[in-house]
Symmetry: C3
Subunit: 127 residues, 3 copies
Amino acid sequence: MLVTATGFSQTKDYRVVFDLTSRDSVNQQAIIREIGLIKGANPDAKLEVVIYGQGLDMAVKGRSGQQGAVEKLIADDKASFKVCAMTMKRNNIDKDQLVPGVEVVPDGIYEIISKQREGWGYIKVAH
Amino acid sequence: MLVTATGFSQTKDYRVVFDLTSRDSVNQQAIIREIGLIKGANPDAKLEVVIYGQGLDMAVKGRSGQQGAVEKLIADDKASFKVCAMTMKRNNIDKDQLVPGVEVVPDGIYEIISKQREGWGYIKVAH
Amino acid sequence: MLVTATGFSQTKDYRVVFDLTSRDSVNQQAIIREIGLIKGANPDAKLEVVIYGQGLDMAVKGRSGQQGAVEKLIADDKASFKVCAMTMKRNNIDKDQLVPGVEVVPDGIYEIISKQREGWGYIKVAH
């Protein structure tokens, strides 16, 4: 087993950027669940969810089926959520319509490939 | 903001290989739109779309809902489109049935992982 | 052409981790077919399929539409299949319910990003 339940696991290099372009509730629930499990076993993991394209509503107040969960993960410093400004513009969403704590990046795809280049793992959220 | 509208942005290392295995028009429209946006802000970006599996029709004349857009992106040197020869063979598609400008690679997956190894970013097109 | 049909191709660095979170039979058939094609042309390729989330049933006896194919790929040493222990636990699946030869990893996402960090290519199986 590569992972132990205690201290040792915290020394792992656990950095992941998740690519979310789905409005499918199964995908949106999966990423919330996965973040909880990862951080439970690896408190020092760095996790970032980049939202663009069809995924936008997950980041928008009153449209996100996971709004409470997203807010709590951000408030508890378990993950960051970043939404693409170009996707927001195309859908006429302003920054003040976002779920509290969600950040804006100018270009979601560039955010993802920048993280990849820095050595973060990459997971596409889809099923 | 990481991106400016002018010269500075062109110095970024913006290289992406897109993995397209979808016949879903939402995905096929998304990749066309994303390439336009990326190249608008980053004229020196290198973008490649690798098509295999269920994505094949996007590369086939008379079957691609994005045929005009694909042709124009290639003609304007904004992106390259490469289709997997093994997928073509399995579907009895010859090279002369491809949208003009689309290239053939012997193995779509190997093309993708080769680009990854060269430091290109990777984006799976799905939603 | 980057690939030849004979010896030369075997010297390529062909290592891929496939990320399968789909119960869709098109995706599950695709990964079986792709492994066969890759190994046919590149006998030394290292291929690993990491199964988690909605993909679980592909690894479970009596639930996998690809059970015979998975067993044969493993027995012939063509690919390894690894399933996430957290996904198994959540679905009340024990190790003895897995398709023979399927291995268990404590955390499917960590398995994937570890392979990425070791220089393996990454392919999300989706369409």
